[in-house]
Amino acid sequence: MALLEVDAVHSYYGNIHALKGVSLTVDAGEVVTLIGANGAGKSSTLRTISGLLRPREGRVRFAGADLADRKPHQIVADGIVHVPEGRGIFARLTVDENLSIGAFTRTDVDGVAADREAVFATFPRLRERRQQAGGTLSGGEQQMLAIGRGLMARPKVLLLDEPSMGLAPILVEEIFAIIERLNRERGTTILLVEQNARAALDVAHRGYVLETGGIALSGAAGDLLHDPRVRAAYLGV
């Protein structure tokens, strides 16, 4: 049984039919990437999983349980943590406060303190800036804070929406290296949405290609990297 299962989901914004029967699965321990052009429905898929969007048809299941009646904050407590597109840093809260908010669902004070140290070990620059307001950080630092804040919830599945967006190439590399390490060293399960298809397929085990609200292709990451359709449309070769 897959840890996370999106089953023939249809989601709407008012009358706009954004997801037209999307199905995908993520197994425990996997990195799965969801690639596709702007407007294909990648963010909407993540928003449907985390409960910000309610599917009008279809199901989202987590560890076998239907999430239809779960509110977004309950889904976080279940273990699905969504790091949104554009990072969603609370600009007026300090770095430390942003991290505390990430651990909002947790009551194990010692565990939270240890995880905060772990985040600072992964992102040393955040430690230097811990008393600074989130809004004063650079784009790269904000992305690190967004990922670190996501980890503070001890996710069973981490949903990352375009973590490389707007970053300098060297930072993009760093972010992908961190994603790979999180999965390898901690076994964190990751669903990674990206427009940078090559880098995403390089770190992922499997991938899905989304086109105008539906899955067009799926398979092992290595196979997708060599698929002529993917190469033409998303890898620019």
Partner: protein, 339 residues
């Protein structure tokens, strides 16, 4: 045009005080009395203003029924006070009695605020902004006429509390006990509220929800729950303000929430709506300006019955601040995107 206006303002600001101080109409004790009274009045404005600003910070919505939340607390506080006074309890244990009255008033205001959120505002959360605003005005009238329907439209008078009669000598100045209690209670409450918002888990969640509700939900915060708690806080402060108001003015009536509500809203805007310390400072500032303004700025210009114009001063101040600093004294620009 602007220059003429600025000169006119300057003339009032300089010439009036010059004339009145030169004439020596008021002694320095008079001025101190004005200031202390202004601080007491301003404390009430500040406590009510906090309710506007907390709700605005979270929902970007003006809860125009908040003055009635205050009125409802003052009203049930009156019934509690009258009952305790009638049984003689108030005379035997005045402090316990006052505390009980405050608890009754605050509970009522909390209940009214939470019901408003649940019934009137929550269903409209995704509606265009004008809709909840009109609903709030409707709710305000509904509450006023419900109270007047139930209890009549006459004035009711709180019983006197003997321990609060007379004045205390504080730093060599005689200050009315009621005013001292109002100022002290309000300052204590405001400092606690500030500490709560800055340093507790719920306070942090309130600030997060105020910045971005969707992302707050993605952090595991129950956004609806935080909104309810915000109304609870604002309601509690309004209820306490209702009792403190009664210590100074004694009387309650069904439409007593309107004017203080409007003034407190002004204070919240003066301080920068959505900003907690701003509402506190805005309230105190407005209270003091209203209290010393007529004597200081207007009497020197030969305006008769200047004190009748204190409301005009309050709203002139509002207009001036909005012209020269639209975000209020401590306010930051509120981005439409977050609204």
């Amino acid at each position: 045009m602007t220059v003429t206006a600025a000169l006119a303002v300057l003339a009032v600001l300089v010439y009036g005080p010059f004339r009145i101080l030169q004439a020596g109409k008021y002694s320095s004790e008079n001025w101190l009395d004005f200031i202390v009274f202004g601080l007491a009045q301003g404390s009430l404005y500040a406590l009510i203003a906090l309710g506007y600003t907390l709700v605005y910070g979270i929902l970007r919505m003006i809860n125009f029924a908040h003055g009635e939340v205050f009125m409802c607390g003052a009203f049930t506080g009156y019934f509690a006070a009258a009952a305790l006074d009638g049984s003689g309890f108030m005379d035997r244990h005045p402090l316990v009695g006052l505390l009980a009255v405050t608890v009754v008033a605050a509970s009522t205001s909390i209940g009214v605020a939470v019901l408003l959120e649940r019934i009137a505002y929550r269903p409209l959360r995704r509606a265009p902004r004008l809709v909840p605003l009109i609903t709030a005005i409707g709710a305000s009238l509904f509450l006023q006429y419900t109270v007047s329907g139930l209890y009549g439209s006459g004035l009711e008078t709180y019983p006197d509390v003997d321990v609060l009669k007379g004045d205390w000598q504080i730093l060599g100045i005689g200050i009315l006990k009621t005013q001292a209690v109002v100022i002290a209670a309000a300052v204590l409450i405001m400092l606690s509220l500030y500490a709560f918002v800055q340093h507790t888990r719920t306070g942090r969640a309130m600030r997060a929800v105020s910045e971005d509700k969707d992302t707050a939900a993605l952090m595991g915060i129950d956004v609806d729950g935080i909104i309810v708690r915000t109304f609870v806080l604002g309601g509690a402060l309004a209820g306490v303000a209702g009792v403190l108001h009664a210590l100074i003015y004694k009387q309650v009536v069904f439409n007593m929430g309107f004017q203080p509500g409007l003034k407190a809203f002004t204070a919240a805007v003066l301080g920068g709506i959505g900003n907690v310390p701003g509402a506190m400072l805005g309230g105190l500032f407005l209270g003091v300006v209203e209290s010393i303004g007529p004597g200081l700025f207007l009497e020197g210009l030969g305006i008769p019955a200047a004190y009748q114009l204190k409301d005009a001063i309050a709203f002139t101040l509002l207009v001036l601040v909005l012209i020269f600093r639209p975000t209020g004294i401590l306010g930051e620009r509120v981005s439409e995107k977050r609204a």
